[in-house]
């Protein structure tokens, strides 16, 4: 239980090569190759069912790929406890009898080790994490009493308590109002200051362009990965979304996108 692998700092924090995942013969991910450097901030965009959640689960070491390799800081993902996975809010049982601090403390489980109970140091970690995401005053609340933005902050705090160096966020902005979305996006700056590498699955191409170092366009295959102005070109977007999208030419070359979206993300068998 709870392995701790050494990190080779000269390696990319995430190195994905020829990754494919198939369910019953259908390809969820097809020959995906890319790598990330420490402290990068990447948006992953693509239509529903494009394989974003699958990619995150393979990178987190929760799902075994059909073929290809994933390497995190020089070793396989399952050897690490520093990969934080921030779930979609709709996948969480909000009536579960836990407080905000309880949930954040769950992130400490691996650092604590088996057969141990939280010490003062662990509670300090939890408090600091809650401070960073600015919901310290909500520590004792039951989780159903939080707003959508606060729920998202709690999960980011949990990943911080886990001392995650690679954070995977699955649709963290979906269903949040604009101020809450901005709050979360600003929080990403703080994470970058702490050298946390962040991958965010999102539907919003504007935000992907504005707030992220690089953008990854995914629809089973990797259709583009790089600076947003290179990746988010009309011809590539049509390749990714097909006729599921509308391109709106507003103010010259700004594009928005309607992906008939925002219901359930793809359903995978884990």
């Amino acid at each position: 239980m709870y392995p701790h692998s050494h990190h080779q700092t000269d390696e990319p924090i995430l190195d994905v090569r020829n990754l494919s995942v198939r369910y019953d013969g259908r390809a969820a991910l097809d020959d995906v190759t890319f790598h990330l450097h420490a402290g990068e901030r990447v948006a992953v965009v693509g239509p529903n069912g494009a394989g974003k959640s699958t990619l995150f689960k393979v990178v987190a070491g929760v799902l075994t790929p059909t073929s290809g390799t994933v390497t995190v800081s020089g070793s396989r993902p399952a050897a690490h406890v520093c990969i934080g996975y921030v779930p979609q809010r709709s996948h969480v049982d909000w009536n579960f009898p836990v407080s905000v601090a309880d949930v954040v403390m769950m992130g400490r489980s691996a650092v604590m080790g088996a057969f141990r109970w939280p010490t003062k140091r662990d509670w300090d970690f939890v408090q600091n994490a809650l401070d960073t995401v600015e919901i310290r005053d909500l520590a004792k609340r039951q989780i159903s009493e939080l707003s959508g933005g606060q729920q998202q902050r709690m999960f980011i705090a949990r990943a911080l308590a886990q001392q995650a160096e690679l954070m995977l966020m699955d649709e963290p902005l979906t269903g949040l109002d604009l101020p809450a979305q901005e709050g979360i996006l600003n929080l990403l700056d703080k994470l970058q200051q702490q050298h946390v590498t962040v991958m965010v699955a999102t539907h919003d191409l504007d935000q992907a362009e504005k707030y992220f170092d690089r953008v990854m366009l995914l629809n089973h295959k990797l259709l583009g990965f790089g600076a947003s102005q290179e990746v988010l070109k009309p011809e590539r977007l049509i390749q990714a979304y097909g006729n599921r999208m509308r391109l709106v030419d507003a103010n010259g070359n700004l594009m928005t996108l309607d992906d008939s979206c925002c219901g359930e993300e793809e359903h995978e068998h884990v």
Partner: protein
Amino acid sequence: MFNWLLEPLSYPFMLRGLAAGVLVGIVGAVVGTYVVLRGMAFFGDALAHTVLPGVALGYLVSGGERGTLFWWALGTAVLASLGIGAISKNARIKEDTAIGIIFAGMFALGIAIISTVRSYAVDLSHFLFGDVLGVTNRDLVLTAIFGGIVLLLVFIFYKEFLTLSFDPVLAATLRMPVGLLNNLLLAMIAVTVAVSMQTVGVALMVAMLVTPAATAYLLTRRLWKMMMLAAFIGASSSVIGLYLSFYLNIASGAAIVLTATAVFIAVFLLNPRQGVLRRG
């Protein structure tokens, strides 16, 4: 009033029954917390019924002697829980359908085996509805030991079971042995079923797992508080139920379960947090 409370205590069988009832009430309620939170009530009910053929076989083999039945129940329960776990994971049919098929089939097998014995009706009703007043000192010791082991495991793996129940993906990214922990929990439920068999019987077992824990769920919003409260409700239901059984001449297992059910209904209706009657 005082006499009313003390009189049953002058009977050794009542003392043993109360001790067994309290132990089973506590263990069932604490393990039941996870049964409720993870939506495993049907699994718990099925598991209890699946134990019947094992116990019946033991009964037949030992020639009607009750002393070894605990071990037969324990063995069958653990095997059945892991078996159901494996089948529901791998089968192409849905989990509850798979459980339903196995549960009814095994239960029928148990009844078939018992029906070959001449004192069929009496023996069957003991297995189905329990016989807490027939608990021996030896039964009591076994209940305490195995119930104690289950509680100890709940305590030792508290943060692991909590994390796994709330967010299995987090548990996996923290590299907890998810499969092993799931099977351990199934085995703990199985042991709880085995130790509760004599108190409430196969048919009412699921109430010991689900009812006190569900009552506590309505009243509190922290897991450990829910466990404590459920244990208190489970133990009190056993005590009150046994007194009712003593004075009103009701079957003991039924009296215990009815008490727990009454507490649940009262809390459901009157609970200050979200009771139905307080809402308006």
